[in-house]
C-alpha cells in the first residue's frame, strides 16, 4: 500500500533512508522591476540550466535536463516534505512547479493567433490545476500594451476551443526568463490540457521576438529572505504535494526589487 498511514510511518521511512534531498543554487537575472515572476529554467546553477523547449508541438518534460528530478519509485509514492531557501540580494517568493510541456519559438512580432499545438501532458493528464505561462527565451522588448490571451485551448474536462481574457506584460523590457501568467482562462475552467491555435497576440505588437508557452503545475511556494528559511511541509504546514514519477521540477521567483540575486536551498522528499 503506497503512501503513509501515519506520521510515524513517514518517520520510519525517513529513518530507513527512503528520502532524497536536492540542493539548489541559482544565480538569478536582475529583475526589471518588483512584483513580477522570473523563471530560473535558463539560469546557471544547480540544477544546471535547462534548454528552451522545441517549437511546436514542443517538448514533454519527463525527468528533464535542467530540472530537479528524482528516481521513479512506482509502485510507491513520493511526497515533498521540506523546503529551505536562503537568498542573497533581495527577498523573493519561490515557486516550485512541475514543468510539464513547453512549446518554443512562438513568434510575437505579428498579431493574431499563433500555432502552439502542445503535446499531451505527461502528468496531471486531465489538466486540473495546470497553468499556462509565457516565458521569455531571451531578452525581449515588448510593450505594456501588448496583449496576450489563450485563444484556443482544451480545458480540464476535455472541452476544446476555450478562450480566456487578455494579459499584458508587467514591463516593456523583459529580461531572459521573464514570465507572464498564468494566462487567464474562460469562466468555469480550472485547468488546461493543451493549447492549440492557441496564443493570440494583440494590442501593441512587438517588433521582434519569440516566446515559450509552458504548461506547469505549481506545487509549493516559499518566501526567501537573507537568512535561511526552512519549512517542514508535514508539521509546519499541512502541505506535502505528491512528486510523480518523471516530475521535472522547475523554480521561479517573484521579485521584490530590481537587484540581482543568488539563492540557495534544499528540497527534500520521502517515498513509501
Amino acid at each position: 500500500m503506497a503512501g503513509f498511514a501515519s506520521y510515524q510511518a513517514l518517520v520510519t521511512n525517513v529513518v530507513g533512508g527512503l528520502t532524497d534531498t536536492f540542493g539548489i543554487t541559482k544565480t538569478l537575472q536582475a529583475p526589471q522591476g518588483a512584483g513580477a515572476w522570473y523563471s530560473s529554467w535558463l539560469q546557471t546553477g544547480y540544477p544546471a540550466a535547462g534548454s528552451n523547449p522545441a517549437s511546436t508541438p514542443g517538448t514533454s518534460y519527463v525527468g528533464a535536463a535542467g530540472s530537479i528530478t528524482f528516481p521513479d519509485v512506482t509502485p510507491q509514492r513520493r511526497f515533498l516534505t521540506q523546503l529551505a531557501l536562503n537568498v542573497v540580494g533581495q527577498p523573493m517568493t519561490l515557486m516550485v512547479y512541475d514543468r510539464l510541456v513547453g512549446v518554443g519559438s512562438v513568434a510575437i512580432n505579428a498579431s493574431g493567433n499563433k500555432t502552439v499545438n502542445s503535446v499531451a501532458l505527461p502528468r496531471y493528464a486531465d489538466g486540473t490545476g495546470v497553468q499556462v505561462w509565457l516565458e521569455a527565451p531571451s531578452a525581449l522588448s515588448v510593450n505594456t500594451s501588448t496583449l496576450f490571451n489563450l485563444s484556443s485551448y482544451t480545458n480540464e474536462n476535455g472541452v476544446a476551443g476555450r478562450s480566456g481574457a487578455t494579459i499584458a506584460p508587467p514591463f516593456a523590457t523583459l529580461p531572459t526568463g521573464s514570465m507572464i501568467g498564468p494566462l487567464p482562462l474562460q469562466a468555469g475552467d480550472l485547468g488546461v490540457r493543451s493549447v492549440e491555435v492557441g496564443l493570440n497576440i494583440g494590442g501593441v505588437i512587438p517588433a521582434a521576438g519569440t516566446i515559450n508557452v509552458v504548461l506547469i503545475k505549481p506545487l509549493a511556494f516559499l518566501v526567501g529572505i537573507s537568512s535561511p528559511n526552512e519549512r517542514d511541509q508535514i508539521l509546519m504546514t499541512t502541505h506535502f504535494p505528491r512528486i510523480y514519477d518523471g516530475a521535472s521540477l522547475g523554480l521561479a521567483f517573484h521579485s521584490f526589487s530590481t537587484t540581482a540575486a543568488t539563492y540557495m536551498g534544499t528540497l527534500s522528499t520521502v517515498w513509501g
Binding site: 503506497a2 517568493t93 480566456g164 494579459i167 482562462l185 475552467d189 504546514t237
Partner: protein
C-alpha cells in the same frame, strides 16, 4: 463516518488514498480606488476566469459557479480547507469566501427601499446561516456619498423583517468593484438567511449587487512576500468546503495601486 479522526488519518487519506489536492489561482490586475476598502475580484480575469454579475431579483444561486474556485462534490465525505497562501504585488488583505447567492442590477437612485428578495441559501441553510454576511458590490460607479442599509432581512433563526444600521459609502464616488460590508445587522443577529430589501437614504447614481457570502479565511500580505496560513496545525480551523462551494477572493487594499494576486489553496476530503 466522514471527516478525519486524527492527524495520522489526514496523512493517510492524502498519501495513501490520494484524497488531497491543491489549486493555484491568480486574479487581476485590479486597481483599487483607495486604501482601507474592500474590493471584489469576482469579475477580474485570471485563473479561474472572470465571474459574471448576478442576475436581477431573485438573483443567482452559486453552486460550483463559473468564475469561482470549486471542487468536485465528495458527499458523504467532507472536504476541508487545509492551507491558504498567496503573494501580491501590493500590500493587502485577502478574503477567501464561499459565494452563496447574489442579486444584481439594483439601482441606487432614487433614494428608497429596493427589492432584493435573494433566493434560499444553497449552503449554510437554516440556523447554519449564522456567520453568513451580506455585502454590496458596486457594478456601476456611484456619483455621490450616501448611506445604505439592510432594511429588511431574515436572520439566522428565520426571523424576518430584521433591519440593520445604515452605513456610508467609502468614497464620494465609489468605482466598480468596490465592496461595502459586511452590512450591519440588527442587535442580536449573527447571520443572514435572505435579504428582502435594502434602502438608500440619498439619491445617487450607481448600480450594485447584493451578495451573501460565508467568509472562510483572511490572509494579510505585505507586498511581494508570500504568506501562507495552515489551518490544521497553525490555526486549527479546517473550514469545511461544502459540496457546491463557489470560492471567491476579495482584497482590502492598502493603496490605489494596480494589484495582482497569485495564490494556492490545499484541501483534503474524507
Amino acid at each position: 463516518m466522514p471527516g478525519f479522526t486524527s492527524y495520522d488519518d489526514l496523512i493517510d487519506k492524502i498519501t495513501v488514498s490520494g484524497q488531497g489536492s491543491t489549486f493555484a489561482f491568480s486574479k487581476g490586475p485590479y486597481t483599487p480606488q483607495g486604501a482601507g476598502v474592500w474590493y471584489t475580484l469576482w469579475t477580474s480575469a485570471g485563473m479561474p476566469g472572470a465571474g459574471s454579475a448576478p442576475a436581477s431579483t431573485p438573483g443567482t444561486v452559486y453552486t460550483q459557479a463559473a468564475g469561482s474556485i470549486y471542487f468536485p462534490n465528495r458527499s458523504p465525505a467532507q472536504t476541508h480547507l487545509l492551507t491558504f497562501g498567496a503573494v501580491a504585488n501590493t500590500a493587502c488583505t485577502l478574503l477567501l469566501y464561499d459565494r452563496l447567492v447574489g442579486v444584481g442590477g439594483i439601482a441606487l437612485s432614487p433614494a428608497a427601499a429596493k427589492t432584493v428578495n435573494t433566493q434560499a441559501l444553497p449552503r449554510y441553510s437554516g440556523t447554519n446561516a449564522a456567520g453568513v454576511q451580506a455585502w454590496l458590490e458596486v457594478t456601476t460607479a456611484t456619483a455621490s456619498s450616501g448611506t445604505v442599509a439592510l432594511s429588511s432581512y431574515t436572520n439566522e433563526s428565520g426571523v424576518a423583517g430584521r433591519a440593520g444600521a445604515a452605513v456610508g459609502w467609502p468614497f464620494a464616488a465609489s468605482n466598480a468593484g468596490t465592496m461595502l460590508g459586511p452590512m450591519p445587522l440588527q442587535a442580536g443577529d449573527t447571520g443572514v438567511r435572505s435579504v428582502e430589501t435594502v434602502t438608500t437614504a440619498t439619491s445617487t447614481a450607481g448600480v450594485i449587487n447584493v451578495v451573501l457570502i460565508r467568509p472562510l479565511v483572511y490572509l494579510p500580505l505585505t507586498a511581494n512576500n508570500w504568506q501562507e496560513k495552515d489551518m490544521v496545525l497553525q490555526i486549527a480551523s479546517m473550514p469545511q468546503l461544502y459540496d457546491g462551494a463557489s470560492l471567491g477572493v476579495a482584497i482590502q487594499a492598502s493603496a490605489a495601486s494596480s494589484t495582482t494576486v497569485w495564490g494556492q489553496l490545499g484541501i483534503a476530503w474524507a
